[in-house]
């Protein structure tokens, strides 16, 4: 009983602390006024000349702040590597269902989902979406097969790691090429198309392609490891 009361008291105090903090924070945030101009707006201005990409977010992600994206990709790589390292997976699937309907559905849907993912990746510079989103969508196709086939389906981990590594290396090499041929990382070493067409992005498309491939492989690995984690 005493313990419970202490616990309640500590919760109360913590709650008090958090609410005081939030109130103080909000009190200060009231003073927030939007700036006169931001670099985002400047980027928007020069986007049309420098990238020919219809989706400004894409051009920021892959071109203006390509280094951030490279960092992000390596974080993802690091995290998936950690997951793979610490989750030795067994052949036993957590979802051991053998539903024929699901299997048929998976067979039908698999190519469609992959196609959709590829679409999202390749149209990243024209419409919302890009390498990350498309990559995850492709991975979800594999996850679907996992769920449907249970123990009997397992994409080759080696192939996955290889494609993950190689696409990562491709991304870095693209950056290095930009440094060597152009004057900066991810420099536009390819010719630009006209705005709004599929091949208008130049390097941007290549970047998203590598990112998409990498994310797809990584997410497949991730789900594979999570779903088939072995008991110790």
């Amino acid at each position: 009983m005493n313990l419970k009361r202490t616990l309640a008291l500590s919760h109360l105090l913590t709650g008090l602390l958090v609410s005081v903090m939030i109130i103080a924070l909000l009190g200060t945030l009231r003073l927030l006024t939007p700036p006169i101009d931001t670099i985002g707006e400047t980027l928007l201005h020069i986007n049309a000349q420098s990238t020919q990409v219809a989706n400004a977010v894409t051009s920021v992600v892959t071109y203006f702040r390509g280094l951030d994206t490279l960092g992000e990709v390596s974080i993802l790589f690091l995290s998936i590597f950690g997951v793979a390292l610490h989750m030795q997976h067994s052949t036993r699937n957590l979802f051991g269902a053998h539903d024929t309907l699901l299997q048929i559905g998976a067979q039908v849907l698999f190519p469609l989902i992959v196609l959709f993912g590829v679409y999202i990746i390749t149209h990243g510079h024209l419409s919302p979406g890009g390498g990350f989103q498309g990559g995850v969508i492709i991975a979800s196709a594999f996850v679907l097969r996992f769920l449907a086939y249970g123990d009997h389906y397992e994409p080759s981990a080696r192939l996955l790691t290889l494609s993950e590594s190689l696409s990562g290396a491709g991304l870095v090499l693209l950056g290095v090429l930009g440094l060597l041929l152009g004057d900066r990382i991810f420099a536009q070493i390819l010719s630009l198309g006209t705005m709004g067409t599929l091949l208008s992005g130049g390097v941007i498309e290549l970047v998203y392609l590598f990112v998409g491939l990498k994310v797809a492989a990584e997410m497949t690995l991730l789900s594979q490891h999570f779903i088939k984690a072995r008991d110790v």
Binding site: P35, R65, G71, L162
Partner: protein, 465 residues
């Protein structure tokens, strides 16, 4: 020569891992030595400014000036030493990936001048640190890693808040541009932003009030990993913290507050170590103590003291690396890091290394640590900060008490085991101690480097755009 190679080369080496998965230890050594060479070749072209993305003002910039060059060289040196140390233990994929990424993270942290980019590198180094903590894959390792992740997630929340508020109020991310426009922000908001950044970096830089997790993390991870944490990780965050502090022209009272935090860090850490019997915790506390002194010295924003603090960063990093690597040898042999193992072995060379590195750590002559400590004390005295001098001297006694207690083990106890130390390890550790001794006897060149670095760190390292 592009500064981006310090980030791109390790990443390339990582992504091409499947090509040489059996020789990662060799690749690691080659990579780190290459980076060290690259860092050294930059000496004559300082300061270097590189715009990473676009030519407009306020793009992502990488800047290598004297201070960051000094740290970058130190980091690549330590990474090379640690990877050379692991050469004997063969292929370790997890260690290779995590430590290489840690190198990427800390290099990016000190090179980048873009706040959001700094956040990315902050996360890279944090995640590699989590992985390094969990390297042993036992309960302790996972417990430590989970603790670390909770604290780290908290830190990145506040860092993110600070960055968002900066962008929301002035719309720029380059720290030079932020410094220019920072005065436009409402003072209370300014304070909130500084505070959020302080919490974010302060947690990772292991400052008092925010550092109660440190001992557990060091204890959970391998000793050799401890050397990376102690020499690279905390120092890089501290550098960024003070870089921002100097650039944003914080008020004297805020600098005083930082100095106070530094002093508290120092006192609390040294006292905590006094009762500890776990050598990794002891070394962690000693790292905290040194960070406290460094913070205290940097908070005066004085050229001489900052030079001394940089010198302390250098000497402490080398001494701690030597100590942690030696401890790693012991830990591999005894499967324990309790301080009693110091009385259980007989290996004159190793004992000498530990003793001498320990002396340098304590700031006892004729080692480089002494030069750093002496310059800090004389610097404080010439600023008439006699209280700080007295504090450092008094608390150093506590530090001496526990470090010497550890070292007495060497000459005491019976039934000692003979410990075989490989020649390569002897060479490596001997090199580090020679480095400490050499710079202790001839500190002038290093002091000059540190003075130049301090000048560029303080004197508006604001690089012309």
């Amino acid at each position: 020569m592009s500064l981006l190679y310090f980030v791109l080369l390790p990443l390339l080496a990582l992504f091409l891992m499947p090509l040489y998965r059996k020789h990662l230890h060799i690749i690691s050594v080659m990579l780190n030595l290459t980076l060290l060479t690259l860092a050294l070749t930059c000496t004559h072209t300082l300061p270097m400014v590189e715009r990473v993305a676009v030519d407009l003002p306020f793009a992502i910039t990488f800047v290598l000036e004297r201070a960051s060059w000094l740290l970058l060289t130190l980091f690549t040196l330590i990474m090379s030493l640690v990877s050379l140390y692991h050469l004997r233990y063969g292929n370790d994929k997890a260690l290779f990936v995590a430590s290489t990424m840690l190198g990427v993270g800390v290099s990016g942290l000190i090179l980048s001048h873009d706040l959001f980019n700094i956040y990315i590198f902050f996360e890279i180094s944090s995640i590699s640190a989590y992985l390094l903590t969990a390297l042993n894959q036992d309960v302790k390792a996972y417990g430590g890693a989970i603790r670390y992740m909770i604290v780290g997630a908290f830190a990145s929340l506040f860092l993110l808040l600070g960055i968002m508020l900066i962008y929301l109020s002035i719309g720029v991310l380059d720290i030079g541009a932020i410094a220019e426009r920072f005065g436009l922000i409402e003072p209370r908001l300014q304070f909130l932003i500084l505070l959020s950044l302080f919490i974010g970096f302060g947690i990772k830089a292991e400052l008092f009030g925010l550092n109660f997790w440190v001992a557990d993390i060091y204890q959970a991870s391998r000793s050799s990993v401890g050397s990376l944490f102690s020499a690279l990780l905390s120092k890089s965050y501290l550098f960024v913290l003070f870089h921002l502090t100097y650039l944003l022209h914080v008020s004297p009272s805020q600098l005083f507050f930082l100095g106070l935090i530094g002093a508290l860090t120092f006192v609390a850490a040294e006292f905590s170590a006094f009762k500890s019997h776990e050598s990794k915790r002891i070394f962690a506390f000693s790292t905290l103590g040194q960070i406290g002194i460094i913070t205290l010295a940097l908070s005066y924003a004085d050229a001489m003291l900052s030079a001394a603090a940089l010198m302390l960063i250098l000497t402490h990093a080398v001494a701690k690396t030597a100590l942690f690597l030696a401890l790693d040898l012991l830990e591999r042999h005894f499967h324990s890091s309790h301080s009693t193992i110091f009385a259980r072995f007989h290996a004159p060379f190793l004992m000498g290394i530990i003793a001498l590195a320990g002396l340098s750590l304590l700031g006892i002559p004729p080692f480089a640590g002494f030069v750093a400590k002496l310059s800090i004390l004389t610097g404080l005295a010439s600023l008439e900060a006699y209280g700080a001098v007295a504090l450092i001297l008094l608390i150093s006694l506590i530090e001496a008490a526990y470090l010497f207690r550890l070292l007495t083990g060497f000459r005491q106890g019976t039934g000692k085991e003979r410990l075989y130390v490989a020649w390569s390890h002897k060479l490596l550790l001997g090199f580090m101690v020679l480095l400490l001794l050499g710079f202790g006897l001839m500190p002038e060149p290093l002091l000059q480097l540190c003075q130049a670095a301090a000048a560029s760190m303080l004197g508006g390292n604001h690089v012309p755009l």
